[in-house]
Symmetry: C2
Subunit: 169 residues, 2 copies
Amino acid sequence: MSEVKKFEHIRHKPPAKLQQARPLIIALSPLRTHANLSTIVRTAGCLGLTEVIATGNAKINPKIARDGAENVNLTTRRTLIPSLRKLKQEGYKLVGLEQTTNSQPLLGFPFPHKTVLVVGSEREGLNQETLDILDHVVEIPVWGLPYSYNVATATSICLHAYCACYPDG
Amino acid sequence: MSEVKKFEHIRHKPPAKLQQARPLIIALSPLRTHANLSTIVRTAGCLGLTEVIATGNAKINPKIARDGAENVNLTTRRTLIPSLRKLKQEGYKLVGLEQTTNSQPLLGFPFPHKTVLVVGSEREGLNQETLDILDHVVEIPVWGLPYSYNVATATSICLHAYCACYPDG
């Protein structure tokens, strides 16, 4: 009698299906490292996202982003504000990821369906000009040092929380 | 009259308080890159975790892990199995992070309080010997290419989900 194994690795498991394209766009302040951008693009690809707006000298490392590099459209802008204003006019809500006054905890945050997730730079976070046009700010709680998540980690946690609100797209 | 700003960056916001130490331990299969281990240690520090068991030649890069390098106890072992058996005897449930037969979606998974999160290697994932002693396996759904998250990203998403179940420790 062959042994029945409870857990067996499934390689190349088919992905979950989206009923529609996700109306979630990532907007990134200038990032210092291409590794962080590339990790975010890999996560975005896995979650079925297709749009990332980056600022400044943004380059994807395909060794880190994997197939995300080909499946995610990267748009680069000199500054984020004009793009954010335009998306707001198109009905998107601008949700910042930051610790601010009036920021709401990520857990339980009811993400608007049409969301632009606006992410700050590694060191400076979101600048005041950007904060001023946001509709909401969410924060991921910290319970210990170093009191701040890596930007790609924080963005990935936040994107996953959005997708948990809209598993089918 | 001074302008009232809705969102203002809060630097050095005090962390959330834990009522007790978190009974959550991270157990890592051999990782190819110290960057992944170090990113996991940074996230662990932020979440108030203190115990990471790594396998093989595990080195923390303090530039990546930040204060996590000093606040998280890193234990290195030649193989994970003996440590996992011991923790199981101490009442911990062993929860793997992998796509397997009978794996449960991360969203809504009721994490046991005393949990060891068991994480696989970048390429091979969790081996069968390790899968055989697990109590549960959780998986993070993927909706698009490259169909697999970076190991530090996946671990961070999963750790955050545990902490969301037990915000006070």
